[in-house]
């Protein structure tokens, strides 16, 4: 009686060496010098690259958020309004556009963005934000109820 299975399974460690290495070499095909050709170098750099890629997917989102913030800030600074004031003014007016949209509007629809800035600044002046110097025309003449929401 011959046991075929168990003794063979003990020594079975993964796929054949050739295929195991080929998987790594395929990923390392575009690397330079010995990281492309020498397995011990290749696997090191492939692992590092995959780990970076995994982390990078999260970082990309953070980077984009940062970029949008910068763009919106630049957009509202050209009208002399700070970013926080601008956002707070919009929220209090119930305009819930997100940062990405505001950045897009600042670039591609400058006149719509200008209107948003004006609305926000008016709201800020009406509610008396500390960093808005000029007083609101609405506040002086009409009173608040004209800007009241539903």
């Amino acid at each position: 009686m011959v046991f075929l299975n168990i003794p063979l399974l003990v020594r079975a460690r993964g796929p054949d060496e050739f295929w195991r290495k080929r998987r790594i070499f395929k990923l390392a095909a575009h690397y330079r010098s010995r990281t492309r050709n020498v397995y011990s170098f290749a696997i090191r750099s492939v692992h590092r690259a995959l780990a970076y890629a995994t982390k990078g997917r999260k970082l990309k989102k953070l980077d984009m958020a940062q970029l949008w913030t910068t763009r919106v800030e630049a957009g509202c600074q050209q009208y002399g309004v700070g970013l926080e004031t601008f956002k707070e003014g919009l929220t209090r007016t119930d305009i819930l556009l997100n940062k990405k949209m505001l950045a897009d509007l600042a670039i591609w629809e400058p006149r719509s963005f200008e209107a948003l800035v004006k609305i926000s600044r008016e709201r800020a002046a009406v509610e008396g934000f500390p960093d808005i110097k000029q007083r609101s025309a609405f506040n002086q003449v009409y009173g608040l109820r004209n800007l009241k929401l539903d």
Binding site: T93, L97, M101, E109, Q140, Y142
Partner: protein
């Protein structure tokens, strides 16, 4: 508390003009509603006939609405763009665009849908801004589901050096492509027509 009150009193005595500036500066920290915190209108403004100015303002609003309506009636407004809220994300779209919805989303290929949460719509000469969305039926955005696929394979790989720790996973998530067919102003822009009959409801 007593020493605090004392210093405050001293400050007040020294510079009575500074009090208004101080109260103004602390206004953002106050819990009282903004309504109570307003600077009172100056005495000169009280003389102005408020009703007349309000009427002027209303006339101006109406004339703006009319001009928008005239432009739309003559079909001179050009191509509209809109900002819509879809699946938790906002998209700036115009007719003919394809947008990508990531993740699980039930509609299937060929479905015609209308995107109702329009946050902002604009043309060359005017912009309609919703608070937070435009009233329903003002702007109609029609779209078709064009394609449903999976993303490319993303490799989720973690490794800790010298700790015999290594994990590798592969993932693909569903993606849906939507073609925007048309963005149109369905009815004339007039704030007073239907808005008063049916107060706008929040949809989310």
């Amino acid at each position: 508390m007593s020493f605090l009150a004392q210093t405050v009193r001293q400050v007040l005595r020294q510079a009575p003009t500074r009090t208004s500036a101080l109260t103004g500066a602390m206004r953002s920290l106050s819990l009282a509603p903004a309504l109570w915190q307003q600077n009172k209108p100056a005495a000169a403004d009280a003389a102005i006939d408020v009703a007349a100015i309000a009427k002027d303002q209303q006339k101006e609003c109406q004339s703006i609405c009319e001009r928008v309506n005239q432009q739309v009636a003559k079909m001179e407004q050009g191509r509209l763009f809109a900002v819509v809220h879809l699946c938790g994300k906002q998209f700036k779209i115009t007719a003919g665009d394809i947008i990508l919805v990531e993740g699980y989303w039930p509609p299937t290929i060929g479905d015609e849908i209308s995107l109702d949460k329009v946050l902002l719509a604009g043309a060359r000469d005017f912009t309609l801004i919703g608070r937070p969305i435009l009233e329903s039926g003002l702007v109609t955005v029609k779209a078709t589901v064009v394609e449903k696929t999976l993303t490319h394979t993303k490799t989720h790989f973690r490794k800790k050096r010298r700790k015999q720790y290594m994990r590798i996973n592969f993932q693909r998530s569903p993606n849906t492509m939507i073609r925007i067919n048309s963005i149109e102003l369905a009815r004339p822009v007039d704030a007073s027509s239907e808005a008063e009959k049916e107060p706008s409801r929040r949809l989310f």
